[in-house]
Amino acid sequence: MEALSLTTPLDTETVRNLQAGDSVLLNGVIYTARDAAHQRLVESADAGRPLPFPIKGQVLYYVGPAPAPSGWAVGPAGPTTSGRMDPYTPRLLELGLKGMIGKGSRSAGVIEAMKRHDAVYLGAVGGAAALVAKSVTGVEIVAYEDLGPEAVYRFTVSHLPLTVLIDCQGRNLYVTGPEKYRRQTQT
């Protein structure tokens, strides 16, 4: 399947052109965040404090990498389950977050917020962690160093292979994909 090349940060027009099921190769800078970092980001926003990085147009990757072997920028870094971030996501979308990378379904609240703010949810293949790490060419710590693997890192990625899971119109590949290939079992 022909993959679209995308470069971060993302603007509204780019996001509107993406459709659930599209293959994407992502380039540029992305930020890592999982449970604890999400909680702190939203606390900062609610307290009126600046976030540790400009979130407008940016893409978050839900990941807790393994330690980096020598010669690697980062250890294997496959996606974690996105649903755990759902309670915080609408607030971050409101602040201008344009994309998220993870695996697994999202809540109705997140999908509504994605439609409202023109954002996209991208999937990396769970378990294909060495492949993802190969696409990461640079790593820098940005914030919350005390959280260890849960800290916010800035990854520079080159040709990171992703699939559009949910687009900004709410089309959801986890629903439409299986529907298309479902077969009646002969009994």
């Binding site: 695996k103 299986p178 079992t185």
Partner: protein
């Protein structure tokens, strides 16, 4: 009387270390072939083919460069078949296994994913121990070690149910198929589904775990059970869930069932789901 064979605990420690280093970085040829076969012959969905291609490339990178296949290098599960004429010397067997696990997870740059207490402390033990050890005494003078690092995206989708004998074959079939289909994309399909039927509650669970370790091209020797495996496999793959849950034909690579004698009043059934990185390695000392 058979002469007792001495095996040094250090030898067990080294073997366990080597097995976890291998299992976490190098997928079995049976799984690799099943994924290739899915990509080349069976998968019709473009997204599904894309995912299978990425999984195979990931296995190639992990094997060539000696890095973990997945950042979730799992809980360390160890099966020991201990010959009754074996005597372990130079320290405790469990301690030796745990030292082997700790060294593998340190030297292999594997993620340490074990906390000391499930509810209150939840403090990382720092070396991925303790291992979950299943030992049994068997005839002979050999020590067989099988290890399987178990990731929790798929372990969390596992289930167990005590059926009545009246629910029979159909009850087992429905429970297994419904468990796998309702898990959707969460266990990182295409999965290997282990099913344990019979015995007591814990016996069924253990059979299910062992069933995930059977090579994926091997059928159950009893044709009635082999046919049941095929029926469950077909129903799961007719669900359309597909690789990574993006839609497609290949939702599971295999369904393996192991069974044991059961009580007159019950049929225990356990389903242990394993992700596409169905990692295990074995050695006989």
């Amino acid at each position: 009387m058979e002469e007792i064979r001495q095996i040094k605990s250090d030898l067990v420690e080294d073997a366990v270390k080597a097995l976890f280093l291998k299992a976490n970085t190098s997928i079995g040829q049976d799984i690799y072939n099943a994924l290739s076969d899915g990509l080349n012959k069976k998968e019709e969905s473009p997204c599904g083919r894309d995912v299978l291609g990425q999984i195979l490339r990931n296995h190639d990178i992990a094997r060539e460069e000696g890095v973990p296949i997945c950042q979730d290098t799992g809980m360390a599960v160890v099966f020991l078949d201990i010959g009754q004429d074996v005597h372990i010397t130079g320290g405790g067997l469990e301690e030796a296994v745990n030292r082997g696990v700790a060294r593998a997870y340190e030297e292999g740059f594997f993620r340490k994913s074990v906390v000391n207490d499930p509810l209150f402390d939840r403090k990382n033990t720092g070396d991925n121990t303790p291992a979950v050890i299943h030992a049994r005494i068997v005839p002979g003078r050999l020590l067989d070690i099988m290890v399987t690092p178990k990731g929790f995206g798929s372990e969390n989708m596992s289930a167990l149910k005590m059926l009545t004998p009246a629910e029979g074959v159909q009850g087992v079939e429905n429970f297994v198929v419904e468990t796998v289909i309702s898990a959707g994309p969460n266990p990182c399909p295409p999965t290997v589904v282990g099913v344990g039927v019979g015995g007591t509650m814990e016996k069924a669970a253990l059979l299910a775990k062992r069933a995930t370790l059977r090579p994926v091209n091997e059928r159950h020797p009893d044709s009635r059970y082999a046919e049941l495996e095929i029926r469950m496999f077909e129903r799961i793959n007719n669900s359309g869930i597909g690789p990574a849950g993006l839609g497609g034909r290949i939702t599971s690579l295999a369904v393996h069932l192991e069974h044991a004698p059961a009580h007159i009043a019950g049929t225990a059934v356990a389903v242990n789901v394993c992700c596409h990185a169905c990692r295990h390695a074995q050695v006989t000392l």
